[in-house]
Assembly symmetry: C2
């Protein structure tokens, strides 16, 4: 007859109430710190609750109160090091406000995005943070319609339907171009990432504009998967075609690392023969040799900002429609200034 683990049963308000000799209502009030009971009664109630190991049933509460205190987070791929930190940032804010997070991984598929959204709505989430990568604008807009509070990350839509937290990739692109030109490079290629990516499009436009402003243009540009393998393949083919290229701006750090491998295979020295610059500033960028220069965003901050914005919205406060974060140039070995 051990003291522990004999409570297979789940106790309810009713149980606590009868044990304390009061009504459910009184227990409810006390346990939610809404007063409404004498000191003595409160004591008895709390003790009864403790003895029974009472745990309020969040579902029942939600059903009645019409607030689930659950927030959905949709990411394309949690294995991509970009997203765990966003999640952590979002979680840190959510937790402090008593919210619980459902994480939905969407494996880079637009269909799954729609499916997962339905599920979250059925689950009565109070809001959604949506890192939508694959869904087309029109479909996204339609999906957003039946939705209460949504914050989009890394993407925008009709501001009436959802606010957003984005990164100024065009600025990042300009910083990249500035940096490469400042260290004397002119023959710049673009490993552009997937053509369906919102961010990719912005980076391309940003690079083109920045180069134009200096009377330059990209030597070449190819799309690729946002992976190491994708970067390697793309860079290999580009470098084979244009041996004049002295700098590559890559979609992200993974593709930059792929490009690094491609350069090695061609016996090109990075940064002497070829400079590389990536985006995202993932940990890996500092762990390869040479280290990769990158345009970093504080991903944890993205998550925090998105969740703060969302909670304000849920709260019914008037909020800004969009937040734009600025990337910072992290100079590293792959673009070391060559001695002029």
């Amino acid at each position: 007859m051990s003291e522990m683990a004999q409570d297979e049963t789940l106790f309810t308000l009713e149980d606590v109430a009868s044990r304390a000799g009061v009504s459910r209502m009184t227990v409810s009030r006390v346990l939610n710190n809404r007063g409404g009971a004498s000191e003595e009664t409160q004591r008895r109630i709390r003790q009864a609750a403790r003895e029974l190991n009472y745990r309020p049933n969040a579902m029942a509460r939600s059903l009645k109160s019409r607030r689930s205190s659950i927030i959905g987070v949709i990411v394309p791929d949690i294995s991509n090091p970009f997203f765990p930190e966003i999640f952590r940032g979002a979680e840190s804010v959510a937790q402090a406000s008593g919210y619980t997070l459902i994480l939905s991984n969407v494996v880079e598929s637009a269909d799954r995005e729609a499916e997962v959204l339905e599920k979250l709505l059925a689950q009565q989430v109070d809001g959604i943070i949506w890192c939508s990568a694959r869904m087309e604008d029109a479909a996204l807009k339609k999906a957003l319609a039946p939705t209460k509070s949504v914050v989009l990350v890394n993407r925008e839509s009709d501001p009436e339907l959802a606010s957003s937290v984005t990164v100024d990739y065009a600025l990042g692109a300009r910083l990249a171009v500035d940096h490469l030109t400042e260290i004397g490079l002119r023959q710049i290629g673009l490993i552009a990432g997937p053509d369906w990516s919102f961010g990719a499009v912005e980076r391309i436009r940003g690079v083109q504009k920045a180069m134009e402003a200096r009377g330059l243009a990209p030597v070449d540009m190819v799309n690729c998967d946002p992976t190491i393998q994708g970067g390697e393949t793309a860079a290999a083919s580009m470098l084979a075609k244009h041996d004049s290229i002295d700098g590559l701006i890559c979609y992200n750090d993974l593709t930059a690392i792929g490009a690094l491998q491609a350069a090695r295979n061609l016996e090109l020295d990075v940064p002497k023969d070829l400079a590389l610059i990536g985006f995202d500033d993932i940990d890996l960028a500092q762990l390869v040799t040479p280290t990769i220069t990158s345009l970093g965003v504080e991903r944890y901050e993205i998550g925090r900002a998105a969740m703060k914005l969302l909670l304000k919205q849920i709260d019914g406060q008037e909020t800004e429609q969009k937040i734009v974060l600025h990337p910072k140039l992290m100079m590293r070995g792959s673009t070391l200034k060559t001695v002029v």
Copy 2:
């Protein structure tokens, strides 16, 4: 008067029922594909549901059915590349069975583990996958008591309280020792990782046993943080003390990479002067030079296995108490066989 987005309202079974001119029950039966209505009625009901964009309220259903179809996943740190893949594996199975996952990040803190568990129980989760890293055995056991279905990952407890999915680290250690001795090394050191780690203890025991079986013993052994920095510091001090050492078995790939840096600083050539072997087979192991030989586990498989086990348990099936996965030796550059 656009057709879209005018449905701020949430419709209920009642709404669908009255629109279709039947009772709630009939709607419920039809929408849950439990028959009980004529073809014609079914058609009317489905149409009404579609017109109203009816979405069943999962909370209400859970309250009634006493099954939330939600599963909690507790990880120490989702930013650690070890865990996202476990999550993905678990999700792939859960999704196929209609479960939704709450992810709780516990930032490597035992207190947070307990807190998060409470929250999940209040949320009425049907089960929990718990990658518990920090909580002490006694506390874990106590925490497990009020719990229905839990699968522990990378750790065990009282099998009455929770089943588990673990990795046979002792086997991994043996494979490491075998490999190093086969390529002719005898002076083996052990970079042992954190002393609070379940896996670290198993690896140490495994190495010692395997070496004993060959009439050998580790030259030295030091604990360290499970990070690159930790590995570097530990390896530097060990190599300074024993210049006879020709092979290091490291807690994980990160510490192995740290050791690699330490070796470089001492102008030792890897693998010629010193062989290195890590655990986990993270992506990084293939991205450094030389590439790191490692004992790999299929993390995605861990997640899948854990979720399968959990769902069976929830289902009331008799299940095995523990599943043990076997690491595989991934031979790479850091232990290249020297010409004999």
